[in-house]
């Protein structure tokens, strides 16, 4: 127990939330559990500004922020320090925002009604590099792969059969432990499958962003050839 506490004491966390009551509650819970809260921020801009100085291992991030959105904060923070981890803690859990945050690199998602124990557990797991999923997020990720697979293109990420199976089990509320037992896999293997589903999405997202940036750049240099309105369909 002591050793575990010692290990956790080294986990540094930044809390970003525009609701003072929440920010204080989360900060207090984290401190009491032995985490090192190295910074707090109430807006997206504050978060991005303070992040380089605080260098937290985990950012606990609300998505609905004034100014820069949680999705943008996720992207910029991870650009600055790719080894940092983002745990989204959202009240409304709007699907589009959650999915965008995950694609931007967040590796954990919890709704705010989660218990204190669930939150602490999620921060620990995210800090270790695990992906923390809710059933709802698993559904969204399954849906995103389905949407990506619609136009058959070899460049698009796809799920292996095993990954789909695991995600569907997460989406029906099964814990990694239960999944591991049912599929006769190690807990670690289940973890890896789940993480892979996120990693592929995030990689694809980065490639898409880069491709978009290059296209925009080329257009800008050459003045474009007037084919702007040309869609893929």
């Amino acid at each position: 127990m002591d050793a575990q506490l010692q290990e956790e004491a080294r986990v540094s966390v930044m809390v970003v939330d525009d609701h003072p009551m929440w920010r204080d509650a989360v900060e207090r819970d984290l401190r009491e559990a032995g985490f090192d809260v190295v910074g707090v921020a109430a807006t997206g801009d504050e978060a991005v500004r303070r992040f380089p100085a605080c260098r937290p291992q985990v950012v606990v991030l609300d998505l609905q922020l004034p100014g820069r959105s949680g999705v943008e904060v996720t992207r910029e923070v991870l650009q600055h320090d790719p080894s940092a981890r983002v745990l989204v803690l959202s009240a409304s859990g709007e699907q589009a925002d959650v999915l965008a945050a995950v694609k931007a690199g967040a590796t954990g998602y919890l709704v705010k009604s989660a218990s204190r124990a669930e939150l602490l557990d999620a921060v620990r797991r995210v800090a270790r590099g695990d992906a923390v999923f809710t059933a709802g997020l698993a559904g969204l990720v399954l849906g995103e792969y389905r949407r990506l697979s619609a136009p058959a293109d070899p460049g698009r990420p796809t799920l292996t059969e095993r990954e789909t199976e695991v995600l569907r089990m997460v989406a029906t509320g099964q814990s990694y432990k239960q999944i591991a037992e049912r599929l006769v896999l190690s807990h670690r293997t289940v973890q890896n499958h789940v993480q892979n589903t996120l990693r592929k999405l995030q990689l694809h997202n980065r490639v898409e962003l880069t491709r978009y940036a290059i296209e925009q750049g080329i257009d800008g240099d050459d003045g474009g050839d007037g084919d702007d309105g040309d869609g893929a369909g």
Binding site: H19, M21, W22, A25, Q64, A91, S92, G93, E94, Q95, A96, L99, V111, K112, S113, S115, R116, A135, G136, A138, G139, L140, L142, G143, E144, R146, R147, R168, A171, T172, G173, Q174, Q178
Partner: protein, 367 residues
């Protein structure tokens, strides 16, 4: 633009029949008046704010004066009035500004003046006068309906903007409410006296989130696509998330199915969840809605103690149609399959139903 064409027409006609002019000086004054007034009127009346009764009155008065002066300029037996069709400019202005009554009034005034100055009225004159009246009324009514359409468009745009703003505000309010409900639940778990309050807050939180989800799925271009006999299965199942311990998971997109499939699947899910409530009170349940182009796949799982071995067979042997069989029957009626797995860690139903409408009832019953 119209006024300039009319002016050109009047000038050419005037020049063409210059030999009929008996008083060249007065005629020149009349022409000059038209040449000066045409661009002035075009500019004045281009802006609705300047379309005052005074300017419109002057416009019509000038046209009338020119018509009335015609016998003086061209002699009593003249063919065409000095302004000719130029008077249409004033007529249109009145029709546009005062709708059909204005068009009628201006038309009547011009017609009366035209007829009053003629010694003898030919059929062509009478025809022109009639066209003048008719034109005034028609342009007036068209201006009216155009105006009404513009108003309606403005109102629709305004309403859309208001709705968007309302959604934005609602989002902020919802987020705030959810934050507080979340906090209350948190405290409820830690302070025994607040446990009941926390539980209630949890139920409200789930209900509010389901509502937001439903609004989100309604939002986009979906309204245009949704036919009356089709429903969004995700929205239809969303209310079940309001039951304690139940979570409805979807793929983040609408699942449109025929209304009959939607209502049948909804009752199937209700039956499954009722069963959980009856046999495994306190257990959590998850409903996963998946779909591809051909099939809808519903998974309803609970973490209760499972259905004891032999229980279903026993019910069947006793000739009782258990809940499980009635669920299977309903799904089979939709041309789908139902799969039941149960063990001491929980029960899991998986239903796979074709999205295309099948025959109304008693279709293929698979097993």
């Amino acid at each position: 633009m119209l006024r300039f064409v009319l002016l050109l027409n009047a000038l050419v006609l005037y020049a063409y029949r210059i030999d009929a002019v008996t008083r060249p000086v007065l005629g020149a004054v009349c022409v000059l008046a038209m040449v000066v007034w045409t661009p002035l009127a075009s500019w004045l009346l281009a802006d609705p704010a300047r379309r005052t009764p005074w300017w419109l009155g002057l416009d019509l008065a000038l046209a009338l004066a020119l018509v009335l002066l015609s016998p003086v300029v061209k002699g009593a037996g003249f063919g065409a009035t000095v302004p000719g069709f130029w008077v249409v400019g004033a007529l249109m202005a009145w029709a546009v500004r005062y709708r059909w009554p204005g068009g009628l009034l201006a038309g009547a005034a011009l017609a009366t003046a035209d007829l009053a100055v003629r010694r003898d009225v030919t059929q062509a004159n009478a025809g022109n006068v009639f066209l003048l009246l008719l034109g005034g009324v028609i342009v007036g009514s068209m201006a009216e309906s155009l105006h009404r359409m513009a108003l309606e468009r403005d109102r629709a745009q305004h309403e859309a903007a208001v709705a968007a703003e309302r959604t934005r505000l609602a989002r902020a309010v919802h987020d705030g409410v959810l934050q507080v409900l979340g906090l209350v639940q948190r405290h409820g778990r830690e302070v025994p006296e607040l446990a009941e309050l926390g539980r209630l807050a949890g139920e409200q939180e789930v209900a509010l989130r389901a509502l937001i989800r439903r609004q989100d799925t309604v939002d986009p271009d979906a309204l245009a696509v949704s036919a009356p006999d089709r429903v969004d299965l995700v929205a239809a199942l969303a209310p079940y998330a309001g039951r304690p311990g139940v979570e409805v998971v979807d793929l983040g997109e609408r699942v449109e199915v025929a209304a009959r499939i939607g209502s049948e699947l909804s009752s199937v899910v209700a039956a499954c969840l009722d069963n959980v409530g009856r046999h495994a009170p306190g257990a959590s349940a998850w409903v996963l809605v998946e779909a591809d182009d051909e099939r809808v796949v519903l998974t309803v799982r609970d973490d209760g103690p499972g259905i004891p071995a032999g229980r279903l067979e026993q019910a069947a042997a006793e000739g009782r149609l258990g809940v499980a069989e009635s669920i299977r029957g309903r799904v089979a009626d939709l041309g789908g399959t139902a799969d039941l797995r149960t063990d001491p860690t929980g029960t899991c139903w998986t239903f796979s139903v074709p999205r295309a409408t099948t025959e109304p009832a008693g279709g293929r019953i698979g097993s």
